[in-house]
C-alpha cells in the first residue's frame, strides 16, 4: 500500500516522490508538469512543496552548501 504525505490538505504519493515500492522516482520537471496547476489552484507553492517532499528546506540547502567540503 502506498505511503502518502499530506501538505496543506493535498496528499502526495511518496512512493512516486521517493521512487520506492516499484515506482520510478518523479523528476522535478515531471512533478511541475503534473502538479503545478493543481497546487497553485490550492494556493500551494509547488517549489516549496517539492523541497518539503524531498526533505530539504532552503535553510537546509544553504547549510548543506556551507558544510560542503567543496
Amino acid at each position: 500500500m502506498a505511503d502518502w504525505k499530506v501538505i496543506k490538505g493535498y496528499a502526495f504519493n511518496m512512493d512516486v516522490i521517493e521512487g520506492k515500492n516499484g515506482e520510478k522516482a518523479i523528476s522535478k520537471t515531471e512533478f511541475m508538469k503534473q502538479l503545478k496547476d493543481v497546487l497553485e489552484k490550492r494556493n500551494i507553492d509547488p517549489e516549496t512543496c517539492w523541497n518539503e517532499l524531498k526533505g530539504k528546506s532552503k535553510k537546509t540547502e544553504e547549510s548543506k552548501e556551507e558544510d560542503s567540503p567543496e
Binding site: M1, V16, K33, Q34
Partner: protein
C-alpha cells in the same frame, strides 16, 4: 430422490437430540456465483477458519466470481415444495418419480427500485444461494462431505418485482422469487451452525452488508489530472447519496486503452464530505485514452467503483 444403493439399502434411524444442526427462519440470503474465478464451484470448506477475515474476504472479493453477495434482513421468507412427481398405475398404486421443485420467495423492504436491476444481474448467470437464519446458522448443500455448497438456483427462474406501498397496508420494496435447481435434493440440505464461527464474527459489520456501487462524475480532465465527484447510485434521481469516506489509499487508476496501471501521484480529499476528490494527478497520458478510476472492495470494504473517463 437419490438413486437407490444396493449395498446400503437401509438407513439407520437413530436421531441426535442434543446439538442439533437445525435451521431457523431465513433472514439473510447470500447469492453466490456457481463457479469461482478458477472454475471451481464456490463453497465453504469444512476446514476453513470461519472468522471475520474469512467472511470479509468472501464478501469483498476482488473478482466478482469469488464474491458472496448478501441480501440482509429479508422479510416474509417462504419456501414451498411442489408435489412430487408420481406415476399412478391403472390399478391405483403409485410410483415415485421425482421430487417436486422447491421455490423460495421473500421481500426486501425499504429498498430503492434500482435494487431490482442489481438482483436481476444474478439471473443472467448460474448462481446459487446460502441462507442464514437469525441465529447465524448457514444452510446449503452438503452432498460433498468436506464442504458446503450453495443451493443452486434453476436458471431463468429468478423474478424480481417492485412492491408498492399501499393502504393494504404494504411497504415499498422488492419481491424476489426463484426455484431451486432440480438437482437440489432435500436430503442434501446441510447446516453450518453459528457456534462454528470464531468469536470475532459480526455480520452487522459494514464490510459484511454487501458491496455498494459507486459512480463518479469527472471534471477538469487534462492529460495529467482530473477531478471526481463520487456518489452511491442510490438517492434521489437528481441528487445521489455522496460518497464521503474515501481516502487516497482507496483509489487506483488504470489506462484502459493501454491496458496498464497508472500510479496516482497526488490527490485532494479535503472536500470528501461533498463527494469531491480533486486534483487527481498522474503521469502524462495520451489524448483520447480511456482511463478508469477504481475503488476495490478488497481495499475499501463495502465499496466498488470502476468509472471511466476520456483524456481530452
Amino acid at each position: 430422490m437419490a438413486a437407490c444403493s444396493c449395498t446400503e439399502a437401509y438407513g439407520n434411524t437413530g436421531r441426535a437430540y442434543d446439538c442439533k444442526a437445525v435451521f431457523g427462519i431465513a433472514r439473510n440470503v447470500w447469492l453466490v456465483p456457481k463457479f469461482d474465478s478458477s472454475s471451481v464451484q464456490n463453497h465453504i470448506l469444512n476446514s476453513a477458519t470461519l472468522n471475520q477475515a474469512y467472511f470479509i474476504g468472501k464478501f469483498n472479493a476482488d473478482n466478482r466470481l469469488d464474491r458472496i453477495y448478501p441480501i440482509n434482513d429479508v422479510k416474509e421468507f417462504d419456501s414451498t415444495k411442489a408435489d412430487s412427481k408420481v406415476f399412478e398405475h391403472s390399478d391405483g398404486t403409485k410410483q415415485f418419480l421425482a421430487e417436486g421443485v422447491r421455490s423460495f420467495a421473500y421481500t426486501i423492504s425499504d429498498v430503492e427500485y434500482k435494487y431490482i436491476a442489481k438482483l436481476r444481474k444474478s439471473g443472467c448467470n448460474q448462481f446459487g444461494v446460502y441462507l442464514q437464519d437469525a441465529d447465524g446458522n448457514i444452510i446449503g448443500n452438503g452432498r460433498q462431505s468436506d464442504r458446503l455448497l450453495p443451493l443452486m438456483v434453476e436458471i431463468g427462474s429468478l423474478d424480481v418485482k417492485a412492491m408498492w406501498a399501499t393502504d393494504a397496508p404494504q411497504t415499498s420494496g422488492v419481491t424476489v422469487t426463484f426455484d431451486l435447481a432440480r438437482t437440489e435434493l432435500d436430503q442434501d440440505l446441510a447446516v453450518i451452525t453459528a457456534d462454528q464461527f470464531a468469536s470475532d464474527v459480526d455480520f452487522e459489520a459494514f464490510g459484511l452488508q454487501g458491496v455498494l456501487d459507486l459512480e463518479a462524475t469527472f471534471s477538469n480532465i487534462s492529460t495529467t489530472s482530473a477531478d471526481a465527484n463520487i456518489t452511491l447510485n442510490y438517492g434521489s434521481h437528481n441528487s445521489k447519496v455522496l460518497f464521503t469516506s474515501g481516502v487516497q489509499v482507496d483509489f487506483t487508476l488504470y489506462n484502459v486503452t493501454d491496458a496498464a496501471a497508472v500510479t496516482i501521484t497526488g490527490m485532494d480529499v479535503t472536500d470528501a464530505a461533498n463527494g469531491n476528490y480533486t486534483g487527481i494527478t498522474y503521469a502524462l497520458q495520451d489524448s483520447a485514452d480511456v482511463m478508469e478510476l477504481r475503488i476495490d472492495p478488497t481495499t475499501k470494504n463495502g465499496y466498488e467503483m470502476n468509472q471511466q473517463f476520456t483524456i481530452p
